[in-house]
């Protein structure tokens, strides 16, 4: 029983990271209807920026806040320079853009910081959480930060005018323009926020997977899986999807004979395909009520 609880809690902890990545993916998907393949690399780059700031002697939380601000601005910049010109281009052109961005960010990070793995600190420590052996304080911190971020985003989208405008721009761009919303900037803002959310994910996972340019490869795949599982139209679904994928992955690795660590990923993906066959909008994707 303790093994089971242990695995579930550990699953929730890594699930928190998948949830962050899924959230970032959903933000951009809502804005431009494309999956951002470079989301993980952007997160990795942000993490390197925070690491560099700490190397220069900036305290952890200051470097955290600075990195979020830099990532936010960077996300907007990427949208303005690369994806705004591609707004009316075919899907494949956009995909090529994402892959190019992936490759560029990955190599630039390698060029600046090289490919050796680096230690990354955690502000939460790694002692047992509340004296229990089940999860560490860092894992508890990861869960806490993710939930906090989700609540913050919910409040932003539900109760601020700019959040409302962003939702309008994502739902019906033409109607949004007709009430005076500058939809183009709303998309850029979505990119900025997604980039900052990704930075949080990178910073939280770095103490676990260590810092190096390829650190987010696996994480992003799980993030996509979580986003699809929860429903690409639902930020809450993405987060729940993240936790579910994390838990399922751990339990499958532990209890299904022959799966172990190596086959976790295919098992998780099989789960997603199963869900999509029976519920194509994802678990929490909005079934839009419409009367004609």
């Amino acid at each position: 029983m303790e093994l089971f609880t242990n695995q579930v809690l550990a699953g929730i902890a890594t699930g928190a990271i998948y949830a962050c990545m899924a959230l970032a993916v959903v933000m951009i998907y809502q804005a431009i209807d494309h999956l951002n393949f470079a989301q993980g690399e952007m997160a990795m780059f942000s993490t390197f920026i925070s690491w560099q700031l700490m190397q220069w002697g900036v305290p952890y939380w200051w470097s955290f806040i600075l990195t979020l601000a830099i990532s936010f601005a960077g996300g907007i910049l990427i949208e303005r320079l690369l994806f705004k010109p591609l707004a009316k281009a075919p899907v494949l052109t956009n995909v090529a853009g994402f892959i190019a961005l992936f490759a560029i960010v990955n190599s630039v990070a390698g060029l600046i910081w090289d490919f050796t793995i680096k230690q990354y600190p955690t502000p939460f420590g790694s002692a047992p959480f509340l004296g229990s052996q089940l999860i560490s304080t860092h894992q508890a911190g990861m869960i806490g930060v993710t939930l906090l971020m989700l609540v913050g985003l919910y409040l932003f989208f539900q109760f601020t005018r700019i959040g409302l405008a962003m939702r309008a721009a994502a739902a019906l761009p033409e109607s949004a323009r007709l009430v005076g919303v500058n939809t183009s900037w709303m998309i850029a803002l979505g990119w900025g926020m997604a980039s900052a959310i990704g930075a949080v994910a990178g910073i939280l996972i770095a103490p676990v997977v260590f810092l190096e340019p390829n650190m987010m490869g696996g994480v992003l795949v799980y993030g996509f899986a979580a986003a699809v599982l929860g429903g690409l139209s639902s930020p809450l679904g993405a987060v729940i999807g993240g936790f579910l994928v994390g838990v399922f992955e751990n339990l499958a690795g532990t209890y299904i004979p022959g799966v172990g660590n190596e086959l976790k990923l295919p098992i998780a993906l099989a789960l997603i395909i199963t869900v999509l066959v029976f519920k194509p909008a994802g678990l929490f994707g909005r079934a839009i009520v419409k009367r004609v």
Partner: protein
């Protein structure tokens, strides 16, 4: 009376296809004007061209300011509300959120709350349904919502694209009564595009008739209504 909106030699294009062939007309401040025409005559395109939603040439001036080169959202910010064909309802949001979106460019937050209440007075059914997802409203209710959303901008000019489309005759009458009231009491200049010529001519004080992208007739709504050609082609008697 001064002209609030001046349209000169407006030509509009969808790709290679030209939809408007040199439209010239003017709207007087405070007027309620209707633009009549058959399917495909270019009525919708005219409204879309005013808001720069299609590629067009020619001159459009609103209160003396040229609109060409302005983005749709900046045209709207000048005080031109556009109720599009199909109503443009944000179906996944609540009725109240739809109304708030109408006022999204305004900075006078206190008045917005009061304006939402005023809309509920104009359209009591919206108050009953204010927390409901807008997509669950009936067609008529959604049209009321679209008009209310447009009014939340506190527009100087309101463009309506076939507000009667798909609505029961009784609802259309009610809607048109409200439009007349808004025009008189709130001093909103209105340009309404309609296929329901009879009702539109009863409501409007000015009318233009458009055929294959050109204005073929203009004048006082009563005169137009009694014109024999118009009666035959658009009123059916």
């Amino acid at each position: 009376m001064t002209a609030m909106l001046n349209v000169k030699d407006l030509r509009a294009y969808y790709g290679q296809v030209q939809a408007l062939h040199g439209l010239t007309f003017a709207l007087n401040e405070g007027s309620l004007t209707t633009l009549l025409g058959a399917n495909g005559a270019g009525k919708t395109t005219t409204l879309r061209a005013i808001c720069n939603m299609v590629r067009s040439t020619g001159a459009i001036e609103f209160e003396g300011k040229p609109l060409s080169g302005k983005s749709t959202e900046n045209v709207v910010r000048l005080g031109i509300a556009h109720v599009p064909q199909g109503r443009g309802t944000f179906t996944t949001m609540t009725v109240e959120e739809n109304l708030q979106l109408g006022a999204i460019t305004r900075t006078d937050r206190k008045n917005i709350v009061a304006d939402i209440e005023r809309m509920y007075e104009h359209f009591p059914v919206l108050k009953e349904r204010h927390t409901q997802q807008a997509g669950t409203l009936s067609g008529g209710e959604q049209q009321m919502l679209a008009v209310a959303r447009a009014l939340m901008l506190r527009p100087r000019l309101m463009l309506l694209d076939e507000p009667s489309f798909g609505l029961a005759p009784l609802i259309v009458r009610e809607l048109f009564k409200i439009l007349g009231k808004i025009n008189r009491e709130d001093k909103v200049t209105i340009l309404v595009v309609e296929q329901n010529a009879q009702l539109a001519l009863e409501l409007a004080d000015q009318a233009y008739v458009i055929e294959t992208g050109k204005i073929v007739m203009s004048g006082n709504a009563k005169e137009i209504a009694s014109n024999e050609d118009v009666r035959k082609s658009y009123l059916g008697y």
